[in-house]
Symmetry: C2
């Protein structure tokens, strides 16, 4: 049986417990929305102030050399590589997740276009909208069809063979479903897709930083800097390509920083080899420096067991939340829609409610528990093993019980919709 | 006759002289590279610290509503609109100049594709490389040809009719040539191109913030945030579209923030109307806030005569530099390659040297005068009317004379190439 005391005991013995001190978390808030925007690392304020005041302010244009701003997208990329299990030189930070998806999908389609039978991009109907929008645009531009499949919710076991065949040019999936938190096994799905001749593109938005990724035979991946990597609002995204495509790849956004020799100012585009050719324009240095600080918080776990330890704690946190929430479900019309099997669960737990979850999320925020709502009916709670304590899980569920028991969530003020929740 | 004293007198009576106090400029440095990276505005440090510590750090995810991060790309866009003479709601800040070029070129090509005769994108051979790379990529993707023309260097008078005909789908030009500083007249060229049935796309990288733009009948424009707008290293870029295309435009980078209703999380992309549909992914908030502070420094000139006054001072500065440099030219193998006629000159002056300008730029930097070098042979000096003083021009030329008279630039240490100069 769990109790608040047993949760506090878990925190005391948690080998990752000290990592919480790397963050500046507001008092009185239980932040369960790091899957949407990671909190501020303690180191970020000074790092950003230093790049603003000393590098930009004092060293001005010379900072591109003196402070090696030019290599920053690669340097931070190499750090992210350690987080997601890629090799050095395989990742670059650039642009947004959406734009990186466009680059890799256009590249993947170009690679597989040789085979005229392969007329489809396959994705999942429940994929994050931007993934579907970009995929539809790339399909239309290339005379392909975007076929959307419904993977079994409790899957991750779904054999790729069921959705991929010799019509498939590219399989585009997100490892962790942004609504349900369901986790897919990249290694096995990518291997099966590859055996069927399809290329795989993975969106790691909700998994990078909280689980070993297992890229295996995957072809391309993109990911987000501002969720579990704690890189700050709108942090630039990253892009990875399997080294076997290093010479095959040319994405269509030919910008000067993706050129083999940018400062030659040559009239003709010659892509830089490998992932460096996925850079386009000048990167936003202030946001990049903040991203580096965020990635460093994940790397701080390396001496403590790294991603394996983070994943173990993540599972403990989400399992605890589910166990504590379940007794509330029957009486209060609440449903856990996240897989019970931790092997198929990311670092979030999602709930629905018979009368709609929106107002419940708002009422919880007023009680200092920040989760979020995703249309049409999902309350999401993200658990970062870097700073979420077991006692936070206990307290969050206790406050949820209060919100439900008192019925306070029915107050009309909680029904007022805001742009982002 | 000019003298150091007369320059100081000009500074005393300069109605824009007080704007220099908006910047934190390092002591002992004459910064003539604001056309590459504008200096740090005084207001930026606190604004960035506030968004990091209070908004992100304290208000976390709620900042998207509470601090209206969601509208930031439009709010800063509206400020840039005042700088370049566009209307409110016509500009959005997004991504990089290169990526915005891709969006507008793809859109322009789609609009003009109805006319099967129009098989060419026309640009200038000396255009900034990224413009040519993106144009070549867009041309290839659409089965068009990229035709490069050589406009007369002292032109701006070039009748568009000479380069545009009924084969031209799109004319892509940069208003101020990054090497020579030559300025084109957007109003007249766009009107002529429009009469010939071609759409115009303008890159305002080196003109936004230092001259009234005169968009007139132009169709699309993009521009850079980190040059004369002082938005910080890699600041996000902006994109403008003439309102007549508001319903016609769909660019292919379909991201969730370009959706009509992003938080509906709909499976199908419905572009937001007008320029809002040129947004793609989540914007880099820290860099955007710094950009806003930069744009504010230009808007601070509004009560002092605005862009007209800035342009007048810009011309005075560049004219003075040319006048002072000219006596050095004959004896020292120096050549001014920027148009003498101020009507055809941006806010920079460029020099070449018979033995190559690279080492001269380096020697000047050692003497505290920061300009830059652009391959193959150009020394560039940018003059921002917001913070450059007339006495700075005098002193810069005096130090250039010293560098040449002493021959110190021949020291081998000045020949060592760095990545960016």
């Amino acid at each position: 049986m769990h109790s608040r005391d047993s949760c506090q005991d878990s925190d005391v013995t948690d080998p990752l417990g000290g990592l919480r001190d790397l963050f500046r978390l507001p008092r009185g808030v239980i932040y369960l929305d790091g899957n949407s925007l990671g909190p501020l690392p303690v180191a970020t304020s000074d790092a950003v102030a230093q790049v603003v005041d000393e590098q930009w302010g004092h060293d001005l244009i010379t900072s591109w050399n003196v402070h090696d701003w030019l290599r920053l997208p690669q340097r931070v990329g190499d750090k992210i590589a350690r987080v997601i299990g890629a090799g050095p030189g395989e990742i670059v930070v650039a642009d947004s997740t959406s734009i990186n998806l466009y680059k890799v999908l256009m590249t993947a389609v170009a690679i597989n276009r040789r085979d005229a039978r392969r007329t489809e991009i396959v994705s999942e109907r429940s994929n994050f909208p931007t993934d579907l929008y970009i995929a539809a645009s790339v399909a239309a531009a290339n005379g392909l069809t975007l076929r959307l499949v419904d993977l079994d919710r409790d899957a991750g076991l779904v054999p790729a063979a069921d959705v991929v065949d010799d019509r498939t040019a590219v399989l585009l999936l997100t490892q962790v479903d942004y609504r349900t938190g369901r986790l897919l096994d990249i290694t096995s799905i990518s291997a099966e897709a590859r055996a069927a001749g399809a290329l795989t593109v993975w969106d790691l938005a909700h998994s990078a930083g909280v689980a070993p990724i297992g890229l295996g035979e995957a072809d391309f991946a993109v990911g987000c800097g501002y969720k579990f990597l704690n890189g700050g609002p709108g942090a630039p995204a990253f892009v990875w390509m399997h080294p076997r495509h290093a010479s095959a790849a040319t994405q269509p956004l030919h910008g000067w920083l993706g050129h083999e020799a940018p400062f030659e100012f040559s009239t003709d585009y010659r892509p830089a080899p490998g992932i460096a050719g996925f850079q386009v324009g000048t990167p936003p240095i202030l946001s990049l420096v903040a991203l580096e600080c965020g990635v460093d918080t994940v790397l701080a776990a390396e001496p403590l067991g790294g991603l394996t330890a983070l994943r173990a704690k993540s599972i403990s946190l989400t399992s605890l939340f589910i166990e504590l929430v379940e007794p509330l479900c029957v009486d209060h019309g609440l449903h856990v829609i996240t897989p019970r099997d931790p092997a198929h669960r990311g670092s979030q737990v999602s709930l629905t409610h018979d009368e709609g979850a929106y107002a419940i999320v708002q009422a919880l925020i007023e009680r200092g528990v920040i989760g979020d709502f995703r249309a049409p009916d999902v309350a999401r709670f993200g658990f970062s093993p870097l700073y979420t304590r077991f006692v936070d899980v206990w307290d969050a569920v206790a406050r949820l019980a209060d919100v439900l028991d008192t019925g306070e969530w029915r107050d009309p003020r909680f029904a007022v919709r805001t742009a982002v929740t």
